[in-house]
Each structure stands twice: as C-alpha cells, then as structure tokens.
Amino acid sequence: MIVKGKSSWASGVGLVLGLLSAITMAIGMYLGLVYAPEDAIQGNAQRIFYIHVPMAWVAFLAFGVVFLAAIMYLWKRALIWDQIARSSAEIGLVFTTLVLVTGSFWGRPIWGTWWTWDARLTTTLLLWFIFLGYFMIRAYAGDRGRAATYSAVIGIIGFFDVPIIYLSVDWWRTLHPQAVISVTSANMPGQMVVALMVCLLAFTLFYLYLMIQKLGIERMKDQLIDYQYALSEREAEGVTTA
C-alpha cells in the first residue's frame, strides 16, 4: 500500500528497463561468446573483456553518480539525494568487485599472474576500498542525517582522489623500472567492437534497472522509519481512542 502513485510509475519503468536490459544482455552474450572471432593471441580468455569492460564502465559511472548526488545532498540537504547516492554506491561496489575478479581471471592466463600493480588495477582496487569505507562510515555513523553527510564527504573526496591515484601509480610504474605489460590490443576486428558496444549498452541498461529497484527499496526504508517515528509520536500524544 505504501507503493502507490509515483512508485507504480517507477515499477512500470523498471519493468521496461529490466526487459530491455535482459534482451540486450542476451544479444550481447551471444555476440561476445559466439559471433566475435577468437582472439589470435589471447584465445578465449579475451572474451572475458565483453563483461569486464562494461562492468568497469558501470562501476565508474556508479561512482560518478554517487559524486553528483553527494554534492546535491550537501547542498540541498534533501534525503532523496542520499537515497540516490547510497543506491548507486551499493551497485558500484558489486560491480567493482566483479571487475576485480574477472580481471584476475583474464590476467592469470594472459599475464601469467592473478594480480599486478598496474595503474588501472591499483586504482580499481582503491576505488573498491573507498566504496567499502563509504558503507563502513554509514554503518557506524549512528543516525540517518549523519550517515548521509559523512558518506557524501567520502563520495566527493573519493571522486577527486581516483584520478590522482591513477596518475601517481602510473608515474610510480613508469619512473620505477619494471617489466611493462601492455594491456591494450589496439586494433580490434569490427565484430569485436560490435560485441563490446552491445555489451556496454546492456550493462548500462542493467545499471539503470538496478538503480530504480534499489532506489525504490531505499525510499521505502526511509518511509518506514518516518512512519514508525510518526506512530510513536502519536502514541505519546495519547490519541489511542477513536
């Protein structure tokens, strides 16, 4: 009964987005696993990129949304911005985790190692830790307003920090003699590009779908807290008799 009105609109959009992302995802998986040719050097492991790259994009997109919503929250102090920020942060954390895992499964056969302190890898790992800190400070903050403010600060600082982390690790590697491993495969055949583009679209739609779902949940949670508060206020007033 809570979810009347605006939310039925949201669930309609959610349904459409869910269907759209499921269809594009299926097409994307087909293109990536069957249609695109096997990479001459990397073999089948290269196909991990069709999920790895889109998920990395979604992780950074989610982080960007957290940043913008955090600024809006600190400025306007409206809970909706915090709801958006925390929803996006959770999705970002899930996808950052998957980016690290799938990256490792690509790195093992191609680089011969699960992990290397490359700028991109290190930055992603640090991003993961910043997201983690975001949720830790929320958990320990005590009350809702404080959790929202503190996590917003982490979201903003983290966003500015990520490019600096990338730069510093990149310099550290280049100014520090070490075996350089090239990540980029510069000239991809057309079919690979098509597959990657479809997968990018699919995961972006999937992110939007998850955002709508998660945002609905977070809004409902806050609504319930307000409701319980109002209820206890009524009880204190003593309006029990009808």
């Binding site: 409206a78 809004r219 009524r234």
Partner: protein, 65 residues
C-alpha cells in the same frame, strides 16, 4: 579453444554474483512489504487516526531519527 576454463569460471562467478544480488534485492522488497503489513495491522489507531505515510526524501531539513 585455449583458456576456455578461465572464460567459463569468470562468467560463472559474474552471473552467480549478479543473480545473488538480484535475489537479495527481491528479498529486501519482500521484507519491507511484510513490515508495512504488520505495522498497519497491529496499529492501535483507527485508520483515520493513523499518521499518513508520506513519500520520504523531499524534505529539506531535520533528518534526525
């Protein structure tokens, strides 16, 4: 057909995690709905005296619990 096992495991883990996340979201919705039901059923107030459920999130100040 080289490195097929790595591809397989990477995709498997990804879809298991995504599936688990979707399942978790679904359960959260169910839990919230149950909570709303118990709240409205167990309320000591007559319907006309119950506080109204307002859409939360647009108020600009005082977010204290």
């Amino acid at each position: 057909m080289s490195n097929l096992s790595y591809l397989f495991v990477a995709f498997l883990i990804t879809w298991i995690v995504i599936g688990a996340y979707l399942w978790m979201l679904n359960r959260q919705v169910q839990n919230l709905k149950d909570e709303v039901d118990t709240l409205t059923e167990e309320s000591v107030f007559e319907p006309e005296h119950r506080p109204r459920l307002k859409p939360s999130g647009y108020e600009t100040k005082s977010l204290r619990d």
